[in-house]
């Protein structure tokens, strides 16, 4: 059973774009470890020869006609963004 280290937790949090404060680390580590210990039960199941189920439907490719459908409420879409300019979402400068 893998034991999660502090470094690993911080690495994972960074991948998920989340900050973990110094005083939260112990709690997160304990919770994560508890849940993983429990989740480890899956490894007791005999799944020899079984495939993976990735979704509930047997249908895989669902096609539709490639037609342009116009969404007319652009203003409503943009209204939820904190910053916008000239009908576009605004973000901080990416290339310095």
């Amino acid at each position: 059973m893998a034991k999660v280290s502090k470094e690993e937790l911080l690495h994972i949090a960074n991948l998920a774009d989340l900050n973990i404060k110094e005083d939260e680390i112990d709690n997160y580590l304990k919770n994560l470890q508890d849940i993983l210990n429990f989740a480890n039960i899956v490894n007791n199941a005999n799944t020899d020869g079984l495939g993976e189920t990735i979704g509930e439907n047997d249908q895989c490719n669902v096609f539709r006609k490639d037609e342009v459908k116009e969404f007319k409420d652009n203003e409503l879409l943009l209204a939820n963004a904190k910053e916008q300019e000239r009908n576009m979402f605004k973000i901080p400068k990416v290339i310095q």
Partner: protein, 489 residues
Amino acid sequence: MDITNLTVHELQEKLAKQELTSEEIVQAYVNRINAKEKDVKAFVTTLCDEALKEAKEIDEKRKNGEKLSSLAGIPIGIKDNMCTKGVKTTCSSRMLENFVAPYNATVVEKLNEENLIDLGKLNMDEFAMGASTEYSYFKKTCNPWNLKTVPGGSSGGSAAAVAANLVPWALGSDTGGSIRQPSSFCGVVGLKPTYGLVSRYGLVAFASSLDQIGPITKDVRDSAMLLNIIAGHDERDTTSYNMQKKDYTKTLNGNVKGLKIGIPKEYFGEGINEEVKAKLEEAIETYKKLGAEVEEFSLDIAQYALATYYIIACAEASSNLGRFDGIRYGYRTENYTNLKELYKNSRSEGFGPEVKRRIILGTYVLSSGYYDAYYKKAQQVRTLVKKEFDKAFEKYDVLLTPTSPTVAFEMGTRSENPLEMYLADICTVSVNIAGLPGISIPCGVNGDNMPIGMQLIGNKFEEEKILNAAYTFEQEYKFREKYQPEFKG
């Protein structure tokens, strides 16, 4: 006559006979909300004024002889993770505190086609992650049977609102038990339809391969009626199933003679509260008396299913919730100097602790080195769970289990221990893992007058069988005539 105590089919009848107007119905609910919402705290947003205005318009149309649905003018509550154009959809999260959807979810469109009136958006665990509604960013909803206890979750606002007569019926969503478990805790009827029966378009995604929208109602007939409205193919949800529309009320005949009911004995073992078990055993005897053929069998997958569920649900959540970055919608931090900081600080300040915990767990099980041991293995176990259910349905029409191992627990007793909270889902998650339909109906109360729920599980797209089995028990047992919430505590 207390209008708010009537079922929807009773309201429908009174509208048809012109014994009630839509305005009278909505006004009764508005009065009830004004009196009881302060105790129950079921709503994130109430739409009382808008609802009254709409009711008057519908009455006017009816008076003028316009052709309307027989349900037109009856109110409904909607869990706050379904998009409603022009009305906030918060998912009970700081992240979406001010989010106003630019479009309606398909289910909301379907409610609108019937001219049902939206009374408001109902509280939930943040992003539907939880089993008590204590993880809502805004408020903790109280269980109307005992205000010191939780209503269950994540559709706790929906179940509490129906139980407290704040709405005649409501929509919930169920990823691992989030319709059935709160329905059980609040003594109402909750149906999680087969995966693919109801469109998920416009439902804020938690775990896309498990999420399903369904009705929370006072009785089984209302459940079938609401399912009639929301079921159906939708090209905007590629997992929605294209099949003939059914009328789920047609097969409610109150007859279970010869119905084969399987009792998975593992669901009655360790960890199940004795009073819950005793009421379930009484319910089994009732079914026998009514002519059903009941048999015990072994379905030893509950623990596997729960572990599998938390791996898959968190993995999918970590991916789905990647979209919340503070750019196009949702909370944006004030505190950043570059784009990465904007993402990280917005997410860290916008999401609550349980959501972050699940994103981290999901990211962990998907990361290289752990993918095979957890995620891939969980997907294989998912196949195993499905196979076990397939085998069971070769022999039985319906499976019967408790909905939850316990009745509603006291607030604050589990929210600090995530794993213990997860165990509240032990009886319900396997149904989502296998994509099956499941319904929870009340089958009694314990010594403290707290409701106990029974779960009936059906094979895929066999909602009629579980609905009729539930209906037959309900007609015999008459729970609503015997017990009502007391708002104590």
